[in-house]
Subunit: 404 residues, 2 copies
């Protein structure tokens, strides 16, 4: 199994395009992405838990309720959420894709990200989709990632290659998140495609499990968007024996899906609004994995800790405070904390008490761009990791500046 | 019932002092507060839910387990948390107070706020407390509030006068919160004193109920400190018939306690770290009060909404997003949102959809210092309110600057 610089077209059977279709009047930013598979795919998705849901999520859920999909259409610039005729518009979009790609409208996954509460026009879709359908290529992965961006500072792509039953399989994807258009929700979107043959049931099972230790373990600002969607399509063209039950092949697929999901999760966290640093928190010694996950996530989600990391301050008291605020039954009396980066590490707290350390050394370590916080709860064998970013002046600027 | 500009000495029987005792070497800031009652009092307290608890909390819990207390000692500058010999030191502090005030060490409430993980010296207590015990006065309320401050920008005092069984009763208090010493936890502390006669059981019952709709409904940054404490002492010197059961008198007392608690809750939120604005969110039409509380708190706790209010941006999409993230089973399809301040109001969202409004008018309204967000969920009769503050550059500065 190896990670490579792939994209949504790395797996056999997928072609894609990204283009500027004028979702926002006067803007020439790429704002629409279309991914189409040569063959019907197994499909699975997970969505935001927010009770306010974007119209595209409602339509996508219905469309892939049969476990099948053949195309993904995604626009940036307008979230199509809390907006008049949202569902009607999302359905109409699927019909336009279906006509242009000669597939069924029920096999289209639709997603939107951008301003919420603003009516969206169907025109950019009517004009753009047929044109895009004519220029779909095997090189469209980068373009898709660019078209999904809002104020993301870098397009996010990735791929993993693995072997199942002697057949080489590919898994690739594109993601966006943490950016804003006008001041708005920071929607997280990730589309992954694979040529592995897997049933819809097992694909959904794999995805639902993998998100727990990847996308659900990142936090930029604690606000869960109304439009978050992670979707996977599997074309089956790799020629492996179909994965239709648990076992070695399923585990291999899950491992690949996990590897790519963690890749995207880390990239999203590092590109958090205004972020200058990626924070990774590894928790071990937890009584169970739920507590390990809750503790690691509580640490990277703490505004106080995030601000301290921005200031390169080894303020371990905030780590302890955040740990103590995590949900679940556990003991907080014997916690060790170490902070590190590529330049070294400092053991700052032992047995929940202060441990002498060099502040100069700590400042140097925390001035790097990737910071790791290792926590040992000393009460079990469970482990988990979470990823976040620092809280900076730019976060306030990006989200506090009045819409222009 | 009337609110007045009282303090911890407004009720009969209480004397107090605040002084600079050198908790932090070289500092001449008032850092110790002592409150003593002439007579043993009914006592009740509520504490942080953080699993990492300051040593003073452990000692206070034990001391008032019999429902009695006669003095409160509080220091700022060091939280006595995750620090060696913390419990021993907190107990020793109680003994010093007991000797100086001629009471039992088991009748002392002890609290600390400030840096965590730093060993605290007993010397400032040994030197300071006997001196303070000699200068206790009925005018000490302001001094107590000042000594509790960390980076609070204003001392916080208040009082309520009410009548029970023909006797005039007083309730006063001091609070601190949202400030920082060095970059650290923002501990919330509130001490209230009353001359109403009430049993310890009913006092605890009143306090536990009142905090749900006052202190538990504020949020500065989502990090629950390790040292939060709200304590009430009742001297009984007002001469009212002792409140020993539920009924009209108990309700009157609860109303007074609620009035003062909300006064402090609002003051703490308004003085949040770096805050320029107080945000009040009123939720109505909720299926039950727990959901009303969760929804209102989710709104004022959203970093995105807090940053938008800082930028005077009527970004109601963030209000909807925060509502949708609240815990509990409710419907998010028919929500109305109005934003207002003393200059006017704008109806920004109706039936969970955008409603046309003047952006200029909205900007003017949101430029004020006290912003109200009214939410109607249209699915029941329950209501609740929560208080928070905006997220500003100064929040990042206060918490991100390296410890000097």
């Amino acid at each position: 199994m190896r990670q490579f610089n792939g994209g949504v077209c790395s797996a056999k059977g997928f072609r894609a395009a990204g283009a500027a279709c004028g979702i926002k009047e006067g803007s020439d930013k790429k704002d629409m992405a279309l991914i189409v598979s040569e063959v019907p795919c197994s499909a699975a998705a997970v969505y935001t838990q927010n009770k306010v849901k974007g119209a595209p999520i409602i339509v996508t859920k219905e469309n892939i309720s049969d476990g099948k999909a053949q195309a993904i259409i995604c626009n940036s610039g307008n979230a199509n959420t809390c907006a008049p005729n949202g569902i009607e518009l999302a359905k109409k979009t699927c019909e336009i894709v279906a006509k242009a790609a000669d597939i069924s409208p029920k096999d289209v996954i639709v997603a939107s990200t951008g301003v919420i509460g603003q009516e969206m026009s169907i025109e950019p879709f009517e004009n753009g989709i047929p044109k895009m359908a004519k220029v779909l290529t095997r090189d469209g992965g980068q373009s898709v990632a660019e078209a999904m961006m809002t104020t993301d500072t870098v397009p996010k792509t990735g791929g993993v290659q693995f072997e199942i039953g002697g057949a080489v399989c590919n898994l690739g994807g594109a993601a966006k998140g943490s950016g804003m258009i006008n001041p708005n929700m920071a929607t997280m979107l990730c589309f992954m495609t694979t040529d592995a043959a897997i049933t819809p049931e097992m694909l959904q099972k794999a995805l639902s499990e993998v998100v727990k230790s990847s996308f659900n373990q990142i936090c930029i600002d604690g606000d869960t968007s109304t439009n978050d969607t992670v979707a996977v399509m599997a074309s089956g063209l790799a020629g492996n024996p179909v994965i239709d039950k648990e076992g070695e092949d399923f585990d291999t697929f899950c491992e690949a899906l996990h590897m790519l999901s963690v890749h995207f999760a880390k990239n999203l966290a590092a590109d958090g609004e205004g972020a200058t640093k990626l924070i990774e928190c590894n928790v071990k010694g937890a009584p169970d994995v739920e507590i390990a996950r809750a503790v690691s996530k509580s640490v990277i989600a703490s505004d106080l800790l995030k601000a301290a990391i921005f200031g390169s301050d080894a303020n371990w008291g905030r780590v302890l405070c955040a740990i103590g605020n995590a949900e679940g039954e556990f003991n907080a009396d014997n916690i060790d904390v170490t902070m590190s980066s590529k330049t070294g590490s400092v053991f700052v707290c032992e047995g929940s008490m202060h441990k002498e350390f060099s502040e100069d050394l700590a400042t140097g370590i925390l001035s790097q761009k990737e910071i790791t916080i290792d926590v040992d709860l000393h009460q079990g064998d469970a482990e988990a990791t979470a990823w976040g970013c620092d809280l900076t002046y730019d976060y306030v600027k990006i989200n506090g500046d009045y819409r222009s």
